[in-house]
Symmetry: C2
Subunit: 454 residues, 2 copies
């Protein structure tokens, strides 16, 4: 996918930034050119301030000139998913209840972005409360299609070349699914990897992550943000080198079908099979449910992910959804209104059973670390579907969310002229090891040639 | 302590509420009489609305009359510590930065209080951001003395008979220490026992709990709130009966000295020794560091609690303290300003080491479950000290906070005419078992006779 789309890894400019051959201001102008050309169609942003961005880019340019860059990504233009608070923009959460609402405060991760010199260009579109009711964003590869959700605007903005990176969050499939549909790198860290303070996602499976134009941009940003803001309180945060880990081909990989397999298109299955074959040809040992009884056990265990995720999220969402309902129930989507009713039908005992079951499934998956370096699977049943009324099928991304393990989308494949990713899942708190494997898998598989048909 | 103070358990009126012999409105007027008589001196509240409370009490009275009480504590007047958001009052967090600040939203636990028919009379004084810089509240037993902190207003309001119960939070000693100083029951549930959504305490050791006029009030309220609001996302919440557990004398109790012992007054040590003797006389087996090598091991392990708690809280507090600092650093207490500097000297690696060390200490303590039903210790080095410039020594309450286990203060003792409690710690997620033991210990020890000298 090198040709056609506008992906521009920010860190690929590092040497030129250091030498003065380019500057954050110059780079920003390139991004702005693309924003001005296509944002009217793509609609990735809820709010944007290009003049402020230019001022901040000038300040960053000055720092680079003086040899005083605050971080390797000083001057990087970024987008922030609109459930995460920023002092300077409203936080509308994709809901008419919060139009123009301002907390007046930066979230932990936003405070960290600013400390590193990143430029917050704007807030990116989210589905309603980062759940399923879609926002206005179009898929830049084909405007008739969904960008996926809930980090819709972040994925579309990176895919369209508006930004090299944007923050997203995932509790069901909100980073990896839109990353697949939009053909960008998506990185969902281990649970609690990046401090969620000031982000309006309060669920035990929810996680802040990065969508970016390259593995390197995603890793360096996420790793640095975790260092500055910490992980969630009580969690270790992302461990590993500040620079992108050296690629390391996995010795052994588990191919997971997951319950999504039955819903996957033939072309998507074929893409995964091709990827699998290429890894095998490169010397990677492949394990799957047919060749390993342990994998078969895990495949069975993760069948519970869907029901558990729905129920756990519902119970945990009773608050603040009851606050939203009582603010003005008529401004909730029908789906949200229905979820509140279902949530209050669940009892604390139900919830405790579900948590215990989730622990069992996580323990089952963790045993795969004994036989493989990582797992690969489809991130979606196919490329982005037509229409904006749904953000697509989340079947393949629920397991990684529920397991709480680190996960990536690599924009490896193309189906019907549209992007389709490869999902790679690792093991809890082994984020750096996973990034090294992702780098090697990406290099082995290469990228399909695609051209945006916007 | 039955005589002299104004403690009025709300649930002791349940039969009369059900029969119509009394009503929430009548009870509220008794509380208001005491508020009007002494709040000018005690200053337990930051904000209060007695007229609204009367309207809500009338509605509750109507429900009781109609046999439609929403909960056993429908109509209970409660106070809410002012780091917890309520829709109807500001949330000032004990900081000049937030004078008049309104979130416009109820915290999860406040939403649950309202659903149960409780009456939120007002917001109670907290130290600055629930840390150490004191608020304006005086100890109702002796106005020259601190009520303890950080749940200062909640403890004082209950002790003065302004309210039968109030919400507090504890991350260092903020429920059990003021409960001891003010001679009330304090209950800090197992970690994550009550949903903290909308409470401005973001630390991994922080916990919402209840200060109340009786064990029953505290248990029923906390247990019900956990059921309605859930525990923190991912935590099981408080398990056990909705009514107060039947008292059950522990077969075996560990007496912990903790590092506070060297700082405790002779009279406080004597109070604990008396309590210990009375439990022994009642047939309880007593274990301590002299008679059990396992206890000695735990005593040594928990010596680390102080340093770990300080460091872990500091690291986790980098956000939102950096937001507070950048709002207006001149409005932070000197202690808070200093903590921010120290916090940013800690690295993520330091923090991960501290978390691992905390896990070790927790595991060490958990082994005591094999030899005893609960642990007892002093909650404070003595009664409330003179002066309002400090909320007192937290030496005895840090271990329970760091361990994350359920804990109670029983207002058992009197020293120099002032209350001193007994601290009882249980084992993680065995809150109901602990409450049963606390009931039996309370019955065995009885209460000292005390008279308020305010």
């Amino acid at each position: 996918m090198a040709s056609g789309n506008e992906l521009r890894p920010y860190l690929s400019h590092r040497a030129d930034l250091a030498s003065g051959a380019t500057s954050p201001r110059k780079l920003l102008e390139d991004y702005i050119t693309r924003i001005e050309a296509r944002e009217g169609q793509v609609q990735a942003f809820v709010a944007m301030d290009l003049e402020r961005a230019r001022k901040l880019a000038d300040a960053s340019s000055e720092r680079w000139r003086a040899g005083k860059a605050l971080s390797p990504y000083d001057g990087m233009p970024v987008g922030v998913k609109d459930i995460i608070e920023t002092e300077d923009f409203p936080t509308e959460m994709g809901s008419p209840l919060f139009v123009g609402w301002r907390s007046g405060r930066d979230a932990a991760v936003v405070k960290a972005l600013r400390a590193a010199g990143a430029i917050i260009v704007g807030k990116t579109v989210t589905t309603e409360f980062a759940a399923s009711h879609p926002g206005k964003t179009h898929n830049p590869w084909d405007l008739r299609r969904t960008p996926g959700g809930s980090s819709s605007g972040s994925a579309a903005a990176v895919a369209a070349g508006f930004l090299p990176a944007a923050l997203g969050t995932q509790v069901v499939g909100s980073i990896l699914r839109p990353s697949s549909f939009c053909g960008v790198f998506g990185y969902k860290p281990s649970l609690g990897g990046i401090n969620r303070g000031g982000s309006h996602d309060f669920l035990s499976q929810s996680c802040t992550g990065v969508l970016a134009a390259s593995l390197e941009d995603a890793w360096v940003l996420a790793r640095d943000l975790s260092g500055r803001a910490g992980g969630d309180p009580g969690f270790p945060g992302i461990e590993g080198p500040e620079t992108v880990p050296v690629p390391k081909l996995p010795a052994s990989v588990v191919v997971l079908e997951t319950p999504g397999w039955n819903e996957a298109s033939e072309a998507a299955r074929q893409a995964l099979a091709d990827g699998r074959d290429r890894l095998k040809a490169a010397g990677v040992k492949i394990l799957d449910r047919k060749t390993s009884s342990l994998v078969e056990e895990v495949e069975k265990a993760i069948e519970a992910c869907f029901v558990l995720t729905r129920r756990i999220n519902a119970f945990e969402g009773r608050w603040p959804y009851n606050v939203y309902r009582d603010m003005d129930a008529s401004k909730l989507s029908p789906g949200a209104a229905e979820r509140i009713i279902q949530a209050f039908e669940l009892t604390p005992d139900d919830y405790r059973r579900d948590l215990a079951h989730r622990d069992q499934v996580r323990a089952s998956y963790a045993r795969l670390a004994g036989i493989a370096d990582c797992c690969i699977m489809l991130p979606a049943t196919g490329p982005a579907p037509l229409g904006l009324e749904s953000t697509g099928n989340a079947a393949f991304v629920v397991p990684g969310s529920m397991l709480g393990v680190p996960g990536w989308n690599i924009p490896s494949f193309a189906v019907d002229g549209l992007p389709l990713g490869l999902q790679v899942l690792g093991f809890l708190n082994e984020d750096a090891e996973l990034a090294a494997r992702v780098g090697a898998i990406d290099a082995t598989l290469g990228r399909a040639e695609l051209r945006m048909i916007g």
